[in-house]
């Protein structure tokens, strides 16, 4: 008996429809959020994430309606976010039916936002989303190297935080930023590898392990999922508490039930849905 590792389908939306892209660009329509939500709820998703990647002010009402429609379909937790800059915006997302909200760019620009949200809604409702990219000049951060390195050496600038949908570098170290966010009250980290996102070349296990070891809150690995072995790797060597994917689920390339059966057969605790 132990806490199950979570599998989390992610709906990236333009506010209304699910969109898909590779490395944050070349977006295309991939379906209705509520229909996908109903399917994932039925097929054994442990949670659902719905993001407004456009996050434009004038379409905020549309996104809130999307959250409402998605929440209607779910008997599992819902995390929502995209462009949240204030407690009031966070409240509107939770009121629309989300259990947790993600913050990203606004928290980098004004880290106190994490404290404000955590104080108002509790740490369990505040998910810090980090878009991280391996920097070219950094030292070897293979998993093997990480296992040998001491914890203090992990925060030495191997992955850089990007904001504004991955378009803008911040100069911040991803591991250090995760630690700061947790100290400020984030209850979970949604960690996306920009190098892997949309490439279907597997999760960045080294990045995930580095952050997971550095913080005491759960870490959701994101970016690069292709097949069950990728999930097994990120739960074992990547030390992820949850793993998120989008296109492989939307396109029916990977069924949730089969993925969980595979993980269970390899000793990973998962919630199997009959």
């Amino acid at each position: 008996m132990s806490l199950a590792r979570r599998i989390i389908p992610c709906l990236d939306t333009d506010g209304a429809s699910v969109v898909k892209g590779v490395r944050f660009v070349n977006l295309r329509d991939a379906g209705d959020p509520a229909e996908l939500a109903a399917r994932y709820n039925r097929e054994g998703a442990d949670e659902l994430v719905v993001l407004d990647i456009a996050a434009s002010r004038d379409r905020r009402g549309t996104f809130l309606e999307t959250i409402r429609r998605v929440a209607e379909q779910l008997a599992i937790p819902l995390t929502a976010g995209g462009g949240v800059r204030s407690v009031e915006e966070g409240r509107s997302i939770l009121r629309a039916g989300a259990d947790k909200l993600t913050v990203n760019t606004a928290a980098v620009l004004r880290p106190e936002l994490i404290e404000e949200l955590s104080r108002e809604f509790g740490a369990q409702a505040v998910v810090l989303a980090i878009d991280a990219k391996r920097c070219a000049k950094c030292p070897d951060r293979s998993v093997a190297a990480l296992h040998q390195a001491s914890n203090s050496a992990l925060a030495s600038g191997a992955w850089e935080v990007f904001v504004r949908g991955g378009r803008e570098a911040t100069g911040r170290d991803a591991v250090a930023w995760a630690q700061e966010a947790v100290a400020r009250g984030a209850g979970e980290i949604l960690l996306t590898s920009m190098d892997r996102d949309g490439t279907r070349s597997g999760f960045d296990c080294a990045l995930t392990a580095a952050v997971s070891r550095a913080v005491g809150v759960p870490v959701i690995a994101s970016g690069g999922a292709d097949n069950p072995a990728d999930f097994l790797a990120v739960f074992s060597e990547g030390r992820a508490d949850a793993a998120l994917a989008a296109s492989i689920f939307h396109d029916n390339l990977q069924r949730l039930g089969e993925l969980k059966q595979f993980l269970a057969s390899h000793g990973i605790p998962v919630r199997l849905v009959a």
Partner: protein
Amino acid sequence: MNAAKLTLVDYGAGNLPSVERALGRLGVETQRAATPEALAGSRAIVLPGVGHFGQLMRTLEERGLRGPLRDAIARGTPFLGICLGLQALFVSSEEDPKQSGLGIVGGSVQPLPKTAKLPHMGWNQLRRLRPSVLLRGVRDDAYFYFAHSFAALDAPDAAVAVCDHGASFVAALEQENVLAVQFHPEKSGDPGALVLRNFVEFARAKTAGEEA
């Protein structure tokens, strides 16, 4: 006042709409109560909760709900506490030691040990201690969704099931008309729906018994 309805205590908890939706799927009508008047005469009460213990107790106090809630429980009104709604039943919580709880169940709420990742977030299984109203018909290996950092580590007479995360803690308790769960049945798929249905049936049977 519609006597057939189930009353949800509205103190601003984020999960109230989810609980409403989950009960709605079972065909159960609910009403929200944010005032003592709305709470009066309730046939069954649900206290949902997420967030901070101190904030919950303060809001109950400010809205004049604390006394009426205690009175209703003392009169034998079927009561279901969810997550923070379970913690509120205890005498106090280390999350906010200055605020006293409802004091219906002896003991206090404590932080889970930091040896495991906190918050305890996700799906976990239960260990049954004794036969339970809420868990009737629920498979022993069923998973429930938790999201919390504080918990009642002990409730000797009331606990019916415990869960482990860094330490063993009370996952479900039952003390006469008072039932409560640390997990979120409204977010726990089919097993969660069954827990809610069990409470609704318990409340119906109790009400019918009193009228007979």
